[in-house]
Amino acid sequence: MSGYRLSDGGLTDRGTTLRFSFDGTAMSGHSGDTIASALLANGVRIVGRSFKYHRPRGLWGAWVEDPNGIVDVAWNGRTTPNLRATTEPLINGQEVRSVNAAPTAAGDRWRKLDLVSRFLPAGFYYKTFMWPRWERYEPRIRALAGLGRLDPGHEPAADCAQVNARCDLLVVGAGPAGLAAARAAAARGETVLLVDDQDAPGGALRWRGGTIAGSDWRDWAEDAVSTIKAAGGRVLFRTTAYGVYDHGLVCAWRRREAGPDQLWRIRPGRTLLAAGAIERPLTFADNDRPGVMSADAALRYLRLYAVVAGRRIAVATNNDAAYPVAAALAQAGADVSVLDSRDDSLAMAECALAVERNTLPSAALGQEDLTGVLAGDLRLEADTLLVSGGWTPTIHLWRHAGGGLRYDERLAAFLPEGGMPAMRVAGAANGAFGLAAALADGHAAGGDDGPAPPVGEGHASYAIRPAWPDPAGSGRAWIDQQSDVTVKDVALAAREGFRSVEHLKRYTTLGMATDQGKTSNMAGLAAMASITGRAIPEVGTTTFRPPYVPVPLPVIAGRRRGQLFNPPKRLELEGRHREAVAGLREYGGWLRPSWYGADGAAAIDAEARAARRAVGLLDASPLGKIEVIGPDAAALLDFECYNRVSTLKVGRARYVLMLTEAGIVYDDGVVMRLAEDRFIVSCSSAHVAGVRMRLEEWRQDRFDPARVFIHDATAHWATIAATGPKSRDLLEATLPALPRQALDLAHMAVTETALDDAPLRIARVSFTGERSYELSVPQSAAAALWDRLTAGLATLGGCRLGLEALLILRAEKGYPIIGKDTDGLTMPHDLGMTGPMKKREDEFAGRRALFTPQARGADRRQLVGLAVDESAEPLPTGAHGYAPSGGRRRSIGYVTSSYLSPELGRPIALALIENGRERLGERIPLVHLDATFEAMVTSPVAYDPAGMRLDA
């Protein structure tokens, strides 16, 4: 128990007390606390157990860089796993639980596992899960590792809005550099979007403080924010720009105080990255002990939350940035001593505290908690050890965008190298360390050539002397705390040949945890450099990939979930269908009635019978209605279709296939000729978009686009099909104003007329084999027409027809559904349509492919029917026909459609069977899963093979 809160100071609202619990123990904090600051204030040291070895872990950082503070948080009856304690705001009533620990982080029952750590080296899983039957013990080993527990009952709402934004300049980071740049750009009239992941401007100024332009930095920051807003810009806090994507797209996750999170998709003219820098750890034995913490984080806890990390504090550093931390903690009442790897420095000379020069820790002492520091012969009692190993510029977004890096020896850091037209880096992220340098860099990056605002004293020094991991050091020195990777693991990886930094990462999982190695990657590659005798830049960095921080999936998914994931197209008549108790399902992207009535099976049976005996009424509105208009329309359709279209007479319709250039059947449909230069392509409802696209490409590529137009009117017209022997009676009875010649239309004829002042198109096209009329009207007239037609059904013994019954009716007739009864190998002659390929001499899409050896082969799978015993169950769709072949079964095709035919009173099936038409009458064996069947190959047409009923 070491951390505590001072009686005053900090930015939290001491007037509000928030109750929460950690591992079951009641605690309290204030509004404005993070979970981490509240835990620290309550004296919690062990916040979790490490991923692999169950070692005790405490807070190392204070923000996104922290590798250890991963917690599950239950609030409002739901548990969200793996939240980061350092960035998660404290809320009243939160139940916080540590991860990978049971029952508590402090009393974890697996805490002794670390004693056998030498049996769990780098690559342990790779080496272990390969023995015979590894799956037997894998679950038990897995259970020992891992992070939070998923709450299956927690389904977050799909309420995260996604906002598209543009701006002249996007500034990432509202620290001194970002504010200076945004202010300068706004002063020049640019629209600036400034985003920062904290809840107020200032960046590190918020805990390091400073004087800018002669007064407190807050005045200057406030003025900068007003300048941005006055120029039409925006400032978004609690907003993390987490990734740069194609063409400069920047995605940002915005957390709001009230209301759901948002995803911002920003298209900036230019982006300025001013994301600052992250403090590095020092590497020594047991440097992961709870109580070892980033010096900068300790200052942050002190200034923002008035929380002091410990009482007896040792500060170990290799640079000047830790000195203000030591001074501030001493002033706050802690007993502070300093270890410095250097012999002398500006800050050291000015330091009032005792400094051990040329000294760095060699080991942390203590088992579950820090008790002291060992530095060579020096033994120091301490409950807290603050470390600063230097600073790593936060250049993630620069690398996402493809920017280069160079290694700067003076700063011992990778810095942006070269230019990119749409992105710049400024401030500490650009190696401009210290307030004056950062301000000047940002000011210039904002486009102001004049002098930057002056700053007060005491911010100039850094003077790092690199302290990289020592491969020869004794004990276990941690590089990546979240992934449990030590210096020895890096050495092992190098010995086993994983010397490339990308291999090192994957083999040891260094940098692969949720913190993405923000504090560990530099130490890892420096260790590899030292072990393999290379320079740090020779080892290089791993690829930086978005996101910079873990982004909740609901933010990325936005509202595209559930019904809105892939919204179905809705019928104009959906309300009418619902009134008639339709079971609605999605067919080819449309929500359509499967059947009408509560009992699906009975309804399908009755509807199919009614269509054969009397009349069925089908909402066929999704059928394609692509108009092809113009003097070259016939020529375009001749090219598009396998069947010739230009020979079609006005007022007639023709069934056509459309092929890919590989000769494969792409779709089928009916083409109607309404005038010499006007056609309607009524393709399958699922293929409308694709057919339209094909027509457009041919039109723009092969034809004069001024002589033929494509207009997809599918959504503008409703189509109602009356099918059955009494369809004519239904029209006659319910639409008395219909002209006689419309009723007398021949099969495959089409006419345009009018009904109640609305245009009406009638086509005699049948998908059931029965006499059928397709009536198409503008959507506005659909309900009236439907009402009139349905009113006449009962008298005639007819009924509404759902899709399921229709599928049976068409299968009885052997009418294929393209994509269901055909596959990616099916050519027109496999469906028995050989006429055009024999007769046509003009060119059409896919023609050449019909004359290849493969297309002419004798073993093609052809569409046939399959008959089983009348009393048998229908064959399973997907069952394979087979031929015995050397003791094994060789597939000769499969069942594509299978139903129990109500009219025939027996099962029917369609199948693609190798050389099927020559097998007519042959009995073939079939297999599905473990069951076998036998069926006779028949014609695909099971009902009315002579086609007598089309005009019945």
């Binding site: 998709r265 990308e502 830049p537 960095t541 696209m693 723009q700 590529d701």
Partner: protein
């Protein structure tokens, strides 16, 4: 998500467009004169370069017109946009600079973009 400059409508989000494969693939005038292999090559074989690629797009949720654009497939930089009846413009093949000198085909792993000490000052 690309930002695509439609030659007819201006810059629009990629979600408004559909990809239509390699540009300048001309359908053979007389397919019957082609061998089976030549026809199969026309149907199936397309270039897949790492670098500058001329490809066809359609502004499907916009003007619905096809156009060609030239894109550096390694960086997704769009180098030129033109009508489908226009000849392919000359662009500078600005291939990505890979210090390791990796081949213009391959995994596209550009992990090591660090200027090495030996290259400094050269």
């Amino acid at each position: 998500m690309f930002l695509i400059p439609c030659p007819y409508c201006g810059e629009r989000d990629q979600s408004e467009f559909a990809y239509a494969y390699q540009a300048h693939v001309h359908r053979p005038k007389d397919p019957d004169r082609l061998t089976d292999k030549e026809w199969a090559d026309f149907v199936f074989i397309r270039d897949n370069p790492k670098g500058v690629f001329a490809e066809r797009w359609i502004h499907a949720a916009g003007c619905r017109r096809y156009f060609n654009l030239m894109r550096n497939t390694a960086t997704d930089e769009i180098l030129a946009v033109y009508r489908i009846d226009e000849p392919q413009p000359k662009v500078e093949p600005a291939l990505p600079a890979t210090p390791s000198g990796e081949a213009p085909i391959g995994s596209g792993n550009d992990a090591v973009k660090v200027v090495k000490p030996a290259e400094r000052g050269s």
